[in-house]
């Protein structure tokens, strides 16, 4: 009897112990809301960019304690497609990463990027209309129209000007409504370019070999599409046909006219930073230092001035118009999911957060990108940021409504190649270094570029 009773008690104790252990193990999981799992994220950029990525991911993990994220600076994978290829071939590619706006079409063409449209369709709380249409256009594959990323933020080219230099030359500032022309810029640039004897570029005594202040700087000197495309667009041309970006458009008379305008600024007027001066010190840093009056650039300049030359007296205006109207280019930074990721649902959860709720806050203001989601750009994270110049909204947001605003025309699946010796790289080099006129350099170039596109 005693034995039987003792056995029964033992069984109950054992059962109770098992239940207690099971509760201890499973209770926290059952009580935890939200996603669980592990992800890897690749990032690239300078130390401030890395800091902001780390802050954003830390915030996401605070809000989603069941998700563990490894953030890796993976030798530039994203900025460099070659670096991503080695990661993919080695089986170490991240779940989420940041493709460059210059190479995402190549990645999309190779099937590296997950199509996000089904995820968006299945998400009743996410409306792509909450992003500006131009930013969604810029994350859409040219090949098949699939959505290959969500915008992290974007930048846009505006005219940055040194108010003291304009005052000293007795010139009115570029108007904040964009009601001025590239011919105005050319005339101003000549009056604002000064040699070491104080002669301006429109003076007979001007010495182009001894310039101490340049009237204008543009990224076209690299040569970079963010610099030359707004001019070509405003003149009615482009490097590649729009919107498909599938064929060369450099032999179009308006494209040639645009490039001749650029060459004349450099070599006829001597009013803009030429390649050799740019090689000495990058042109936009010359503007930050106070050596250049007008600069065609993005909002990164505001942060640079804030860090390096806070006393600079400057403002910004939208880019001017040409025969075809006002034009500028945007560059969208995006989050994408690797198509081979085994954690796509979780990756989507992270990516969606980063592009929406997480798009401002810790990193929206530091990255100096314009938040692309809803009206976030109008608030403290951009327009009202402490170092934002007076006409930030007019120069950086209003141009989004221009018909000619888009992303650079040479950003397609063969950007690397068409910018090199096989494409139009050498022809542009001849123009920029004054070896040939724009017409001489560009005549016949399209057969070469189109052959690359078709190969």
């Amino acid at each position: 009897m005693y034995e039987k009773c003792s056995q029964s008690l033992l069984s109950r104790c054992l059962l109770l112990t098992i239940l207690l252990i099971a509760f201890t193990i499973f209770a926290p999981v059952a009580a935890q809301d939200g996603p669980t799992g592990q992800l890897t994220v690749f990032m690239w950029g300078g130390p401030p960019d890395i800091d902001t990525y780390e802050a954003a991911i830390a915030r996401y993990m605070d809000e989603n304690p069941g998700v563990e994220i490894e953030l890796i600076d993976a030798a530039g994978c994203g900025a460099s497609y070659a670096a991503c290829k080695t990661q993919i071939a080695g089986g170490t590619m991240a779940d989420v990463f940041v493709p460059g706006s210059w190479n995402y079409n190549a990645m999309a063409n190779d099937g590296v990027l997950e199509d996000l449209a089904p995820y968006v369709d299945a998400d009743s709380d996410l409306d792509l209309a909450d992003f500006h249409p131009v930013t969604i256009e810029a994350v859409t594959s040219l090949r098949d129209g699939t959505l290959v990323g969500l915008p992290m933020g974007f930048n846009i080219q505006s005219m940055w000007f040194n108010k003291d230099m304009f005052d000293a030359a007795g010139l009115d500032y570029p108007p904040a409504d964009g009601d001025y022309t590239w011919d105005d810029v050319r005339a101003w640039a000549k009056q604002l370019t000064i040699d070491e004897n104080g002669n301006t570029a429109d003076s007979m005594d001007f010495d182009a070999g001894k310039i101490v202040q340049w009237g204008y700087y543009n990224h076209f000197v690299w040569p970079w599409g963010n610099g030359y495309d707004p001019i070509l667009f405003a003149f009615g041309g482009s490097a590649m046909t729009l919107p498909d970006r599938g064929s060369c458009n450099l032999e179009h008379p308006d494209s040639i006219r645009g490039w001749q305008f650029i060459q004349d600024l450099m070599w006829t007027d001597h009013s803009t930073v030429k390649p050799d001066a740019h090689a000495e010190q990058i042109g936009f840093l010359r503007w930050v230092d106070g050596q250049v009056a007008l600069q065609h650039g993005s909002f990164e300049q505001a942060k640079l001035v804030d860090d390096q030359n806070p006393g600079l007296n400057y403002d910004i205006a939208p880019l001017p118009s040409g025969d075809a109207g006002n034009a500028t280019v945007i560059q969208v930074h995006m989050w994408s999911i690797y198509s081979g990721s085994p954690n796509k649902e979780l990756a989507w959860h992270l990516l969606r957060w980063l592009a929406t709720d997480g798009s401002v806050g810790d990193y929206g203001s530091i990255m100096t990108l314009i938040p692309a989601y809803k009206d976030n750009a109008l608030g403290e994270y951009f327009v009202d940021a402490p170092y934002a110049p007076e006409h930030t909204k007019e120069a950086q947001l209003d141009p989004l409504e221009w018909e000619l605003t888009t992303y650079p025309s040479m950003y397609n699946e063969k950007t690397d190649q068409i910018q090199g010796s096989d494409g139009f790289g050498d022809a542009l080099s001849e123009i920029l270094n004054n070896k040939k006129s724009a017409e001489e350099a560009l005549t016949g170039i399209c057969a070469q570029v189109d052959a690359v596109m078709q190969e």
């Binding site: 290829k85 190779d110 390649p275 920029l432």
Partner: protein
């Protein structure tokens, strides 16, 4: 240990060997095993795998390479750009190796003399060799700068305006060769100095007694006895020159309005083209397979050139025989 075998086959060697000799063999191979494993895993294995890739198409994205047979090899011989990039590479080799071999020899002969300061100069010449190519490229791209670069400003002293050599199709590769030579001089000088120190002094004494002039001593004593060193430097500098890549990227891909390999494709070398086809381009043929094919053809070319150099060396290189 002396081993004998009637047939010369390893099996017979092993069978005929004494137990002690066998133990010694096993011990020797045990010591060598790590090296042999490394050789197979890290050198022969990848070599064979890369040879396999030459018969495939792989963009590094697909899960596995796709067999394409001889397509990469046939494309190589029909690729119009190969002629240009090989021509550019040979043009570089001509300038870089000749200037390297001659200048480093001349400087080594000068620095071989026992005078004050030679040790300092040897160290100074060696510094560029241990400097990163990126740093060298950045410094030299400024040296050629027509606004503030020392080279154009030197010519300006004499009223001569020279273009930025890196922006001129005719001179860009020569400028790259000049930079490569400047960087490698210290290495060449060091090797030549080692060779010069190995020449017995009594030969110079004997030639002086015979009335030889300084030039005759150099021509008939130094140069012949230095010929093995010249051969070594010739072979290694040719191999290195065939692989030119970093300097071109830095010198021509900077902020000078020129695409890497420019201007006009004049500095596009075969290794730069290999990189472009492997990682950057998306032509039908592009990918690791075609890149490996270019790499193998380059290796074959280097092998042929090296063999030709050794063949030429048979009649021109003199080895000092050991009197023992």
């Amino acid at each position: 240990m002396r081993l004998r075998s009637p047939s010369g086959l390893g099996l017979n060697l092993w069978r005929d060997a004494s137990p002690r000799a066998r133990r010694q063999w096993l011990t020797a191979y045990a010591f060598m095993s790590l090296q042999l494993i490394g050789l197979f895993v890290f050198i022969l294995g990848p070599l064979l795998v890369s040879l396999y890739y030459t018969f495939t198409k792989w963009d590094l994205i697909a899960p596995a390479p796709k067999w394409t047979g001889l397509r990469n090899w046939l494309h190589f011989f029909g690729d119009a750009r190969i002629g240009q990039v090989l021509g550019n590479t040979l043009w570089f080799i001509l300038w870089a190796t000749s200037s390297f071999l001659l200048l480093s020899l001349a400087l080594a002969v000068l620095l071989h003399q026992r005078r004050r300061g030679t040790t300092l100069f040897r160290a100074l010449f060696f510094i560029p060799y241990i400097t990163s190519q990126v740093a060298v490229g950045l410094v030299w791209s400024w040296m050629f700068n027509t606004r503030s670069g020392p080279i154009p400003n030197f010519f300006r002293l004499f009223g001569i305006e020279i273009p930025n050599l890196l922006l001129d199709e005719s001179y860009a590769m020569i400028a790259v060769a000049l930079v490569a030579t400047w960087q490698a001089l210290g290495y060449g000088i060091t090797i030549y100095l080692a060779g010069l120190q190995g020449i017995p002094g009594e030969l110079y004494d004997a030639s002086s007694v015979d009335g030889a002039s300084g030039w005759q001593r150099f021509r008939f004593v130094t140069l012949p006895l230095l010929s093995p060193t010249v051969l070594f430097l010739t072979v290694t500098s040719f191999i290195a020159a065939f692989q030119l890549f970093d300097l071109v990227i830095i010198l021509t891909g900077g902020a000078t309005g020129v695409a890497p390999g420019g201007p006009g494709g004049s500095t596009r070398t075969i290794v730069l083209y290999l990189y472009e086809q492997t990682f950057l381009f998306s032509e039908r043929i592009s990918g690791l397979g075609y890149g490996a094919t270019i790499g193998w053809m380059l290796a074959v070319l280097i092998f042929i050139v090296t063999m030709a150099q050794f063949r030429f060396a048979r009649s021109t290189v003199f080895f000092l025989e050991d009197s023992d």
